[in-house]
């Protein structure tokens, strides 16, 4: 049986439980499970300053992206505009609250929480908040990171602008606005944020008691 010492040298595949000896990787290389090809780990590094900058960028564009209309149509003189939030409220108001909730969660709430969560994590590390309370907050944020990251679906929403615009152009004039641009920028900021973020690196800041 293995002693705790060997834990550091060995990792387990999360998909098939294969025991694999861990070794250092050059940057931009990903270790795959030799048995089932699941991506296991890469260089556990991310720049905290980079994360902070991307968080602030994302936070700044979040407001115009969600407050300004993302799509506008002109049908025989009547003009209609909508923000992302309004699309969710509109379907909800029609009685389709499951759909409204799904839209709201994946296009507004999850991205907002993701930005705030990463911002908070970076600040906890930067400000060296080591009390029991902050450590438990930090753990909780890391535990929920995967879920928030999965629920953020801005890339799909950006494609849906295009699909909707094409469909609506069949019977009306369609315009994109500043909101569309801001929303696309928000998508890009979060995309880069997610690529820079490394969960394993963030876990390394947690003090593990013996």
């Amino acid at each position: 049986m293995s002693e705790p010492k060997s834990f550091k040298a060995v990792i387990l595949c999360r998909s098939c439980d294969f025991v694999i000896r861990k070794r250092a990787l050059p940057s931009n290389v990903r270790a795959l499970c030799p048995r089932c090809d699941t991506a296991l780990y890469d260089t556990p590094y991310c720049s905290l300053n980079g994360l902070l900058a991307l968080c602030i960028t994302a936070l700044i564009v979040f407001f115009p992206a969600n407050l300004l209309p993302v799509l506008e149509i002109n049908f025989l003189g009547s003009v209609r505009t909508t923000t992302v939030y309004q699309t969710a409220v509109e379907v909800w108001g029609q009685g389709y609250w499951v759909v409204g909730l799904a839209v709201l969660a994946s296009a507004v709430i999850a991205p907002a929480l993701l930005i705030l969560s990463i911002l908070m994590q970076v600040l906890i590390i930067k400000l060296n908040l080591r009390s029991l309370f902050w450590q438990s907050v930090y753990r909780r944020l890391l535990k929920n990171h995967g879920l928030l990251s999965q629920m953020t679906m801005l890339e799909i929403y950006v494609i849906s602008f295009l699909v909707s615009a094409f469909q609506l152009s069949d019977f009306s004039d369609v315009y994109f606005g500043m909101g569309t641009l801001s929303f696309t920028l928000l998508f890009l900021a979060i995309l880069f944020l997610q690529r820079e973020y490394n969960l394993e690196h963030m876990w390394s800041y947690v003090h593990v008691e013996k």
């Binding site: 070794r23 890391l142 469909q167």
Partner: protein, 229 residues
């Protein structure tokens, strides 16, 4: 061709070395007294109750996950059939009301010559959900009924399903945008219809079915036969 589960571009696959290659039996963490934390991916001793790093409860194997996953999958299948039969939008155009199902919506796109958009909608609304359900069904059957299919291929398929599944949300985003914009009364008006809720639930349930499933269970069995390919 390797595909990583974040959908990021290809990186050079660097195969890690198996720890116990000299031993003929495949090294399972369970046999070596190790347990991976499902939450933070830290390796813990099997004897521990909680992860030393994130304090989540540890579970060596979740055998109930097969039944949970089957139940979610069967419910999702029924809902997906309903979502395909019932109308998903209700369009009033100059007083004429038409019910559009997912299929008729795509047929309309093809008729108006918007082929690229038709292909995108077809992929997101029909191909992806059905592939997801069939793929998960196959994966669960392989565990439950001992079907001899290459585990390695199954696992690659599983990761693709995990990643592509969320793209079904596209149709719901498009519907919500359309409903919010097209509201000019009798002249032109779009409303959601019952299949929209069914479709939203299909996405939720299939994502959950893939998430709860403990994929390690597939690899625990049949270890005597070597099927690395």
């Amino acid at each position: 061709m390797s595909k990583n589960d974040n959908g990021l571009p290809e990186l050079i696959p660097q195969y890690a070395i198996a720890a116990d290659e000299q031993a003929n039996e495949t090294p399972q963490g369970l046999k070596m007294g190790l347990c991976l934390c499902a939450t933070c991916k830290k390796v813990n001793a099997l004897t521990e109750q909680y992860c030393s790093r994130c304090h989540s409860p540890l579970s060596a194997r979740n055998y109930a996950s097969i039944q949970q996953s089957w139940a979610l999958l069967i419910t999702a299948t029924i809902l997906l059939i309903l979502a395909n039969i019932y109308p998903i939008t209700l369009l009033t155009n100059r007083g004429v009301v038409t019910n559009d199902t997912i299929f008729s919506g795509i047929a309309h796109l093809v008729k108006s010559g918007m082929f690229p958009i038709a292909i995108i909608v077809f992929t997101a609304s029909i191909l992806v959900p059905w592939l997801k359900i069939l793929g998960l069904g196959l994966y669960l059957s392989a565990i439950s009924f001992n079907i001899p299919i290459s585990k390695r291929k199954m696992m690659v398929g599983f990761h693709i399903i995990e990643w592509i599944g969320r793209w079904s949300m596209l149709d719901l985003f498009v519907i919500s945008l359309t409903v919010a914009l097209v509201n000019m009364g009798q002249l032109l008006d779009a409303k959601p219809a019952p299949a929209a809720t069914a479709f939203a639930l299909v996405i939720l349930l299939t994502q959950l079915a893939a998430k709860v499933l403990d994929t390690r269970l597939l690899w625990d069995r049949l270890e005597t036969h070597d099927d690395t390919n």
